[in-house]
Amino acid sequence: MTVRESSRGDKPDLDWMLLFAAWMIALLATAGSLFFSYVMEFAPCVLCWYQRICLFPLVVILARGLLPFDRGAVRYGLPLAILGWLVAVYHSLVYTGVVPESLLPCSRGVSCMEEYISLFGWLSIPVLSVLAFTTLVAILLTLQRRASP
């Protein structure tokens, strides 16, 4: 473990950078989702809320793992990222109509099919979420692999 100890120093190494990148994605995604709901005033639907429940804590957990470097953050962050990814994928399927809306738990209030933004014809909010969670899971899995070669 002496090699890994170097991550605890002050100079960023690859492991630290990876965790930093994951934290940055979680932070930007959180800022973006707050921007959608508080600045652009889009009401979040139920599925959005489940994704947020998985996303928001990652900002705190991953930051805690950065200062000082603590690989344990991956252990705690990864399950959240995977759950968030599952909901995001489900949301995208609902959004694109693959899963019929009647199967949804959110027929009341804001519809999960409500289209708020659509950049280039395909980049919707659920797709943004899938992208963010996919990257998060990929980075955290990589970190886990690097710990146990």
Binding site: K11, P12, L28, A31, F35, V39, M40, E41, L66, R108
Partner: protein
């Protein structure tokens, strides 16, 4: 080093967020200022109830939900502004029944309007909100017991509520609310300019500025 990177990242993201928020709101206000000239009918429809002098040049357009508590709180505030500038302000009520079931209350209002009892009924609904709403849920059947206080003929009201024109009014107002970006109630526009930020004092400032612009003397 690590601390510095994390701290700087936090500052950059927060600053970026605030900057983008500011830019976005500014752009929206700008865009609607233009909309106001070109598409005034989006703000005031022929069916919309209005209060105040017919030749008044300052239009306060309020997207309201009868079940919305803040709308009830703002009702006397708006009346006070109108009393401050008599003959200069017209209040236009638009519906944005965002609460579950509150379009039922809007149907009551529209049917009361057919009897010339709109403003009395609106006041009654606002001031007795606790009677017919609970935890953001609407109980339209509890409105009936109140209505005689507004001088409404219940038999006639019940028949008028089914009028398909009322459904069309609600649909039109909701469509206009969406066009104008109203997602919360009350949504205020003074001569087409959106109230931004929300609050009693910003509303007062917006009204005063518009009164001064329309009545320069």
């Amino acid at each position: 080093m690590k601390r510095l990177i994390v701290a700087v990242s936090c500052v950059v993201v927060v600053a970026g967020f605030l900057f983008a928020a500011n830019w976005f709101k500014g752009r929206r206000a700008e865009r609607l200022g233009f909309l106001a000239q070109e598409y005034a009918s989006t703000f005031v429809r022929p069916h919309s109830p209005t209060l105040g002098a017919k030749d008044a040049k300052v239009f306060i357009v309020e997207f309201t939900d009868p079940a919305c508590e803040t709308c009830a709180v703002f009702s006397p505030i708006v009346k006070r502004f109108m009393a401050t500038y008599p003959e200069k302000i017209q209040l236009v009520v638009r519906y944005a029944p965002f609460h579950e079931g509150s379009s039922g209350a809007v149907r009551v209002l529209e049917a009361a309007k057919m009897q010339g009892r709109f403003w009395e009924t609106l006041e009654l609904l606002y001031s007795n909100q606790h009677v017919w709403t609970q935890h953001h849920q609407v109980f339209v059947d509890r409105i009936w017991q109140l209505l005689p206080q507004a001088g409404v003929d219940l038999k006639r009201l019940e028949m008028d509520m089914a009028d398909p024109r009322i459904a069309a009014v609600i649909e039109q107002d909701l469509a206009d609310a969406q066009t104008l970006g109203v997602r919360k109630t009350p949504g205020f526009f003074v001569n087409g300019k959106p109230l931004e930020p929300f609050g009693e004092r910003p509303l007062a400032a917006l009204i005063e500025a518009e009164v001064r612009a329309q009545y320069p003397d």
